[in-house]
Amino acid sequence: MTCPEPREPGIHWFLPTNGDGHRLTSSGLPRPDAAGPGERSPSLDYLRLVVRATEQAGFDAIMLPVASGLEDPWLVAAALATEVPRLRFLLTHRPGIELPDRIVRKCATLQSLAPGRLLLHIVSGSSPFEQRSLGDHLDHDARYARTAEFVQLLGERWHGRGQDHCGRYYRDVGPNLPAQALPMPPLWFGGASPMAERIAAAQVQVHVMWGEPPELIRQRVARMQRLADGFGRMLRFGLRLHVFAAPTAEQAWAHVQRLVADIPASVIDRAQSQIEAYDSVGQRRQHRLLQGRGDGVRDLEVSPNLWAGVGLVRGGAGTALVGSYDQVAQRIGEYREMGVDHFVLSGYPHLEQAIHLGEHLLPRLRQSGLQGRHDAAIPDSGSTVPREWPLL
């Protein structure tokens, strides 16, 4: 594989392609009240606002998820990539529903539209219900085996080879494509099982994890670095987290308290029963953070400033950093010290929070050396004038 190493570490944002709003249930799955007041549908006009705000705020890349009911990440990226000159697009792809040749073609198309700005994030599916609705009946281990074969075959097809590939999941893939002129996009990868870890260590550039307490992340990073060393490879790490930050910790926790109070218990119960059915080690790890905890908001603070309450209603990334801007920056710095280079953040609504965190969090991270690449002026972060937190 001749994929280039990703550039410097970065802070990234997230595009809510099934809708957005102020509530914890406003984006992601399940999405019980998509049509409620204040809920925003993922129209091209709205997604464009989020993408532009993300670029202007100084984030490095924006992650586009994939799932049934979400807008197609490739189409959204193709529609918006030329409207922002610098922002990179991290597209999520699940092997199993398209042949590698089509992915090669789609990557080449996006690279025409946005040269050097495409990143590919490979995941392997988590909801058996959803997988079967797509016509995919493989169990967890088989899905990851297929992913491993897919990633390998993708590299071969990219370089104009692989016509004779005769594997367990792909065979007779068709006439050879010409080798691509541009390098393959960097590969990011999500998956927490032992199989997933081996694939990540052997084949990809960045391994993404959902936010967990620092000690757990430290263990995972160390384990995977050993695995990667065994393959003679360099592996980098990314963390996916929501953020609720404010000038003071009290304000941030008060906001989170209000968000949770807003959710009916029935919605939580329904979401939990859906999430429990997921066939995903990563999901089980997120879910376990909620177990054996009290009912108060602070009871779900599973490590300093790391709150697991998003996972009450949302599958996928279920944890958030909650606190003052300085606290959140500090926590990110701690993860950075244990080897995590990339952070994919989000907040509700994604438009206003991109602007908000761009103004208050990114400069603090830049000062501590996490982001090095930006021309955007760093605002006066030493100001002591108290400011209204814009969203309260």
């Binding site: 197609d72 959204v76 609705s133 797509l134």
Partner: protein, 342 residues
């Protein structure tokens, strides 16, 4: 009335030394809209880029241009295609028309990339189309499908209430399938004496299935101030495009034809003003604006409601077509109405 028109776009892989391909696509789309053309037909093929993504990139630069997008069904599951089509339909505000091009290339996307014989491939296509057709309909129930090639449980998750994008099938598809699933059929041979019966036949089959279909064909157009100049222009153009020697695998009869006849493109005239020098390329209308308009109205009367215009050089021919031919079609329509009224 005359046919509606879509301009063909063949988005080839970017040549790193050439000027930006996306700029060219936007130019093509905006030119079509400016010229009063109804839509863009974005082709697919092994050497072409992804038509759906390109269509998405053209949503913002255009206002109302239809996006007729060709896809190779062998490369992805029907559930994935339906979901992407829905997404494009939502993002574009209902401008999508979806074309399945089975000749675009590769093996079907089956769980272990089976090598299928012809009958098996027909069966695979049949299952594919049934699933796709069902999932594209906004009001259809979640689908349980237990076939030989596809097995789905409650497919159609996340389907939204959007107008169904018309489904366009290639004329080479099994007529039974066209009758059962197509909203539009893109026929290869536009010869008026052959296309008329072909349309009638498919219409009858569709009617038996309780459905109606619209028909389309692809045509080039070389329009000159008069007939003679149009043919001169055609000769000059095809001289550059058609090699002096036929490719090595040309059938002997065609190769002999190539050798024995002169250089005039009129030797490929299959019908007045209709010329097909390259059997793998589109037939081309060659003539004065009135002649070209006349042939288009003739085809329209036979049932060709949509025409894909494959023009070269694209922008000059497009503007000529728009400024000279479209008014002729409108004029003839007006004359026809006056005749009806008198």
């Amino acid at each position: 009335m005359g046919p509606s028109f879509s301009l063909a776009l063949f988005p080839s892989r970017a040549d790193p030394t050439a000027p930006s391909a996306p700029t060219a696509w936007v130019q093509c789309a905006q030119a079509a809209e400016y010229a009063g053309i109804d839509g863009l037909f974005i082709a697919t093929g092994a050497r072409l880029l992804d038509a759906m993504a390109i269509a998405a990139s053209l949503i913002a630069p255009t206002r109302r241009l239809g996006l007729w997008v060709a896809v190779d069904p062998g490369l992805l599951l029907p559930t994935a295609l339906a979901a992407s089509a829905q997404s494009l339909q939502a993002l574009s505000g209902g401008r999508l028309r979806l074309h399945l091009d089975p000749r675009a290339g590769t093996a079907p996307c089956a769980p272990s990339s089976l090598r299928l014989n012809r009958d098996q491939r027909r069966e695979w296509s049949g299952e594919y189309l049934r699933i796709l057709d069902h999932l594209l309909r906004p009001d259809s129930a979640p689908l349980d499908f237990d076939g030989r090639y596809f097995r789905l449980e409650r497919a159609g998750l996340g389907k939204r209430a959007l107008p169904r994008p018309p489904l366009s099938l290639d004329g080479a598809t099994d007529p039974f399938r066209i009758a059962a699933h197509a909203d539009l059929c893109l026929l290869d041979d536009p010869h008026p004496q052959r296309i008329g019966p072909a349309i009638e036949h498919l219409r009858r089959q569709a009617a038996r299935a309780g459905r109606s279909i619209a028909f389309a064909c692809t045509l080039g157009a070389i329009v000159g101030p008069d007939e003679q100049q149009a043919w001169i222009c055609a000769e000059r153009q095809w001289e550059a495009q058609i090699p002096s020697a036929p490719p090595p695998d040309t059938p002997p009869g065609v190769a002999r034809l190539h050798r024995d006849s002169g250089r005039s493109p009129r030797r490929f005239e299959i019908y007045p003003n209709l010329c097909r020098p390259d059997p793998t390329g589109p037939a081309t209308l060659v003539g004065s604006p009135r002649q070209v308009a006349g042939r288009l109205r003739e085809l329209y009367a036979l049932g060709v409601e949509h025409v894909v215009l494959d023009l070269y050089p694209q922008l000059p021919q497009l503007l000529r077509f728009s400024e000279l031919v479209l008014p002729e079609i409108a004029n003839e329509e007006a004359k026809g109405e006056r005749r009806d009224m008198s």
